[in-house]
């Protein structure tokens, strides 16, 4: 900005102006400042979740770089000679020994390692929560479908980064994790055995895997991740951020604070806060104490062997398979106890990823949507989301079935059986309940928009009747309740050639599923009528609105 304003005659400002001028002459930075300096960001706490993920990622990059200076990804055998007494002289890989050295003999090394690991857990957690926010507010709709897919790519890469990093210390816990991966890969029909041998450079564990994972962890995956992240952010700029419905907020504008200075101060400060919270966790709470686990050895294992949380759903899926699902057919082994979980995991990844396209196919709504839905205003979508979250949650819980058993005094068999049932029934129940709750909330909103808020004042009418006075909403408050998108199910009509195609029937069926239980936004006419004669209002509204409960005209 200083390039465009009249420079003041103080020494500092003339120096700043000169520097800015120098840079602008070589970069056109003034155009960038002009373009982005006053870009507007809407304020809502849930819009910060993506930033949390971004900031945790920056923290991981910084600390990870530090760690690479000390970590040695070699699986050559060595005898540990560092400070941790119970492992002195124990044979282990150089990778493990160097990780122990970082933890015990490099000042601040343990802190950085713990920041890196806590940051990783938080990065993926924040990514997941950010995705849930986007899903439940419907902000994956046009024009953001592709960015949703890119975001999914980021989520998968983040999990890949997490898993490859988790395996690098070559300790007992991560080694057993790799063993499970090997078992999974070998269960893949036709190519599984070979993939496993190529991955591990031979039989498990071999001497190659840690080095290979290291290359993936610090080179390939981060490079792709950073590229996709950049693309993700470019699209955020192109689309401009969504906003929640509110007075003055339309589909054609965005209300909020400008980047310079307010948003920069808040978001910049937020980076330090996120970083700070991660450092607090790393300072006071131990994570992945590899010295307890010891070096990897195929014979021992620890009770409570679990992956980090983001792989938990996969581990849980493996646990929930009942015995005996493996057959020999055509002289080959078909491991359905591996394949079924893999399909479930694929579904968890793929179905949400393509959901925006499915919803668009049903609604054929080609408008751009920049107003975030309140979850209740899209009951079917919210119900579907709740079902998905429940399914994921059950698999996730299953990964700690043994700990659930010991901590709640249950038998692990009962826990597993319960979760097996919950994996199938839970999503259905969650869908039904969530959808009903959404519809109930919409009815309540409608009631309030029509009749206002119950004031608590009871008044006696001349006729002797007692009524409670309702306070009408002002225009601003009402707008939040009435400004959502409304859809009606598809009416099946023959196409130009007089035919009704199967696709149309499917689409009509799906649209009924989505929009049959419909509560339309209150209109001006509704309010006028509801303020008119009681009975007349009821009658007219009856024909005007379809799916409204009969319990609303009570004022």
């Amino acid at each position: 900005m200083s390039t465009t304003t009249e420079p003041k005659r103080t020494r500092t400002s003339s120096y700043t102006a000169a520097a800015a001028n120098y840079i602008d002459e070589r970069t056109t930075i003034s155009a960038v400042v002009k373009e982005f300096g006053r870009k507007i960001f809407p304020d809502h706490w849930s819009f910060m979740l993506g930033e949390v993920a971004l900031y945790s990622f920056v923290v991981i990059l910084l600390t990870g770089t530090f760690l690479t200076f000390f970590y040695d990804p070699s699986m050559a055998e060595t005898h540990y000679e560092g400070s941790y007494v119970p492992l002195k002289g124990v044979e282990m890989s150089v990778a493990m020994a160097s990780t122990l050295d970082i933890s015990f003999d490099i000042r601040g090394g343990l802190l950085i390692r713990q920041i890196h690991h806590w940051g990783a857990l938080l990065f993926i957690a924040a990514t997941g929560l950010h995705m849930l926010r986007v899903f439940f507010t419907g902000t994956f709709r046009k024009p953001r479908e592709l960015n949703w897919v890119i975001g999914f790519g980021l989520f998968i890469l983040a999990m890949g980064e997490g898993f490859t990093g988790y395996s690098l210390p070559d300790d007992l816990l991560s080694g057993n994790g790799l063993r499970i991966i090997e078992g999974l890969v070998m269960g893949i029909p036709v190519i599984g055995t070979w993939i496993s041998f190529l991955l591990f450079g031979g039989e498990f564990p071999g001497t190659a895997i840690v080095g290979r994972l290291y290359t993936l962890h610090i080179l390939l995956l981060p490079a792709v991740l950073v590229a996709l992240l950049a693309l993700h952010l470019v699209f955020v700029v192109v689309h401009k951020h969504t906003q929640f419905a509110g007075p003055g907020r339309t589909n054609e504008n965005v209300l909020g604070v400008p980047i310079l200075p307010t948003f920069a101060a808040k978001a910049g400060g937020f980076f330090f806060i996120v970083f700070g919270v991660i450092v607090v966790m790393a300072t006071f709470f131990a994570i992945n104490p590899i010295w307890n686990y010891g070096p990897y050895d195929p014979s021992p294992v620890s009770a409570g062997t679990q992956p980090d949380w983001y792989i938990g759903f996969a581990d849980g899926a493996l646990r929930l398979i009942p015995p005996g699902l493996e057959i020999e057919f055509l002289n080959r082994t078909w491991s359905f106890n591996i394949l079924i979980p893999m399909v479930a995991l694929g579904a968890i990844i793929v179905l949400p990823m393509i959901y925006p396209f499915l919803e668009h196919w049903i609604t054929r709504d080609n408008r751009e949507h920049h107003i975030a839905d309140r979850p209740r205003n899209a009951p079917t979508r919210t119900g579907i989301g709740a079902a998905g979250v429940t399914f994921y949650g059950v698999l996730w819980a299953a990964a700690s079935s043994d700990l659930i058993a010991t901590h709640f005094d249950l038998a692990m068999e009962h826990v597993i059986h319960f979760l097996q049932a919950a994996a199938i029934l839970g999503p259905v129940v969650a869908y039904l309940i969530t959808k009903r709750v959404c519809l109930a909330l919409m009815k309540k909103d409608r009631e309030i928009a029509l009749h206002g808020i119950e004031s608590g004042r009871i008044v006696k009418l001349p006729g002797g009747e007692f009524i409670e006075v309702h306070e009408q909403l002002d225009d601003y408050d009402r707008w939040k309740l009435v400004s959502y998108n409304d859809y009606a199910p598809l009416m099946i009509r023959p196409n130009s050639r007089g035919k009704i195609t199967a696709a149309t029937r499917v689409r009509a069926g799906l649209s009924r599923w989505f929009f049959e239980d419909r509560i339309a936004p209150v209109t001006r006419r509704d309010v006028e009528l509801s303020h008119g004669e009681h009975h007349a209002a009821a009658a007219i509204e009856g024909e005007h609105q379809s799916a409204i409960g009969a319990d609303r005209n009570r004022h």
């Binding site: 849930s46 949390v52 492992l87 002195k88 343990l110 709470f285 009770a303 058993a405 249950l410």
Partner: protein, 265 residues
Amino acid sequence: MSNATKRKNRAGRRSPLATVALLAIGLLSTGGAYALISGGTAEAQSDINSQQMIDEGEKLFSANCASCHGLNLEGSESGPSLIGVGAASVDFQVGTGRMPLAQQGPQGEEKPEQFTDEQTKALAAYVASLGPGPGLPDPRYLDGEGDAANGSELFRINCAMCHNVAGAGGALTEGKYAPAIDATPAHIYEAMVIGPQNMPVFNDANLSPEDKRDIITYLEFNRESPSPGGYVLGSLGPVAEGLFAWFFGLGAIVAIAVWLTAKSN
């Protein structure tokens, strides 16, 4: 998160059958095991062999134990025979409060002990006097001065799969569990020798007394050293860490985000 107190207070409310049978088989086989093998720790030390101790133990036994285990240790429907289980078994079961049982359950639970150390030793003397069995451990194996590195390796191979690498305990089948290891060195040693309940026996041919000493040394080292990284969240591994990251980490950050985006008043 879990902690030892919680585990101690847990109410046995699982399958009502079986405790009796389990204990019976367990104690029988321990005794039988001992009868089969030579070696073991030094047979009962002098002080617990005195007739006075034995008489004292007999009185306590008749009053507190005989209703299940029989007046002559022969056992009954509600408790196994104790012939040949040895002083080590009595000291472990009574000294950790597992015996007398509070109620039937999948396994005997650790709880505040019902007898003084003196009374426990007397009971042990009495039971040992009626049949040979593993005696109390020699104190020189309990000093925690062994080789912690060997101990840690042996612990990982022989113990960690049930008790967790940090000794935090873990689940077994049908509601049973391997307890968190917070016992005294003597009780740890005795547990390895006798294989209480479903725990396998680790006789001296499997883990020599020196090996056992090393394991105890490692456990003592862990108990006495501070956790270098900070609070350990129950030593439960990635599950506890993941929950903590979500609820504390992300929870705190979301709370801050709410503050950050709220209108200033």
